[in-house]
Amino acid sequence: MSSTAERIRSEVERAIQRSIKGLEYFASPAPAVGPTPKDVLHERGTLHLYHYRAVADEIYRIPILIVMATSNRGYILDLAPGQSFVEYLIGRGYDVYLIDWSPPLAADRNLTFEDYTLRFIPDCVQRVRDDSGVDDVTVIGYCMGGVLSVIYAALHPGDFTNLVCFTTPIDFSKMELFAKWSDRRFFDVDKLVDSTGNVPSELIFSSFEMLRPATRLAGQAQLWENMGDERFVRSYRAFERWSTDTLPLAGEYFRETIKELIWENRLHKNELVVGGRRVDLGAITAPMLHAMAEHDHIVPYDAAKPLIGHVGSADKEEIVLKGGHVSLVAGPNAVKRLWPRLDAWLGVRSV
């Protein structure tokens, strides 16, 4: 009886605390993100190339260039101290560079796969070489950043040393809801791109949200329940800020994604042509790692799985870890799962 009374009292206290913290939550500014010190190495319209400052006494010989997904901000990889993939990497002795994207301007509406994979990425790889003084570079791509990295890699097989992809879709027919929503019988992509120029971020945000319509509400209920737990609230707010901070997409790039990748599935069929050159994934022979998430609702396992089979590398490995599309690379689970696995794989290939 007394334990029930104690339980009720503690629940009432928690409810009061939640209300106080709830008020603080709404009154406080958005959390700061991207805290790891960095220098801007190069900027070109929508593209920003950062170099993170080393903290280790000695670093691996081969630097890393991370290519962020074009639809989202790169600070998901550097959310907060202790929750930062970049901070982890530099702490483990890697020299880290990152390609991040800002909203494309009206002038960027004509950017295509060719610009991203034959101009932007090779140019950044060269800048990393010049800045680090090392010819070898490891390229890491996340989601669509992985798709762009794979296309770049197939078209420049001798230009990089290792390739790592996180949740990178290859068979777009297996991204079932996206494929359904962009069904060519109903979706007039030409009309959308011709009338909007760049595709608005609201549309990109809604597409991600619609994949899990109940999750935001359930997340808010969880937040309310954990309002007294500052660590939970800080993490929730940082993720919340990131997930609503989607980027518009360059119009032509979006049109190509829909027509060439989703409608025709050309990357999977090894038929994609970029800048007049066929993208043959078999031409990739560098050591390669592909990490996928078991419960990825954005890039399902079946959509990402064929990548390793396609590439011609003798040294290649795929890993499937528990978690979702974002929790694979960021958050408390990534700290325990992906990051140490990547470190173990990459360390021996970075000397």
Partner: protein, 127 residues
Amino acid sequence: MGDDKPKDPLALWRDMLAQWETSVNALANKTMATDEYSSSMHGAMGMTLRMQETVREFMAAYLASTNLPSRTEVLGIAERLGAVEARLDRMTELLERIATPAGAPAPSAPAARPPRTKKPPAAEPSA
């Protein structure tokens, strides 16, 4: 029975919430995977685009009549400003390179970096 550990009163709520989330997501995904849904979604999008076009045309005519620049014109100016900034950046980079004696670090280069001698833990000699 009475000696059992007291149950967390919120556990039931958490379970219910998780179940609700899973079932609503599953149901919604099923509905959204139908032709009818795709068709109506794009029908609505087409209507919005047509509406936006009409508003844009109307606003352009209105702004012209009041002697104000339209969005397209402002974006055109922004584009040209962007090009001027990019050219200035390239010129600054070039000037810095010209002004720096051969062999010296570039002025924008950060302080000395650690040596690239790190070996993976397994390859390091044991102490």
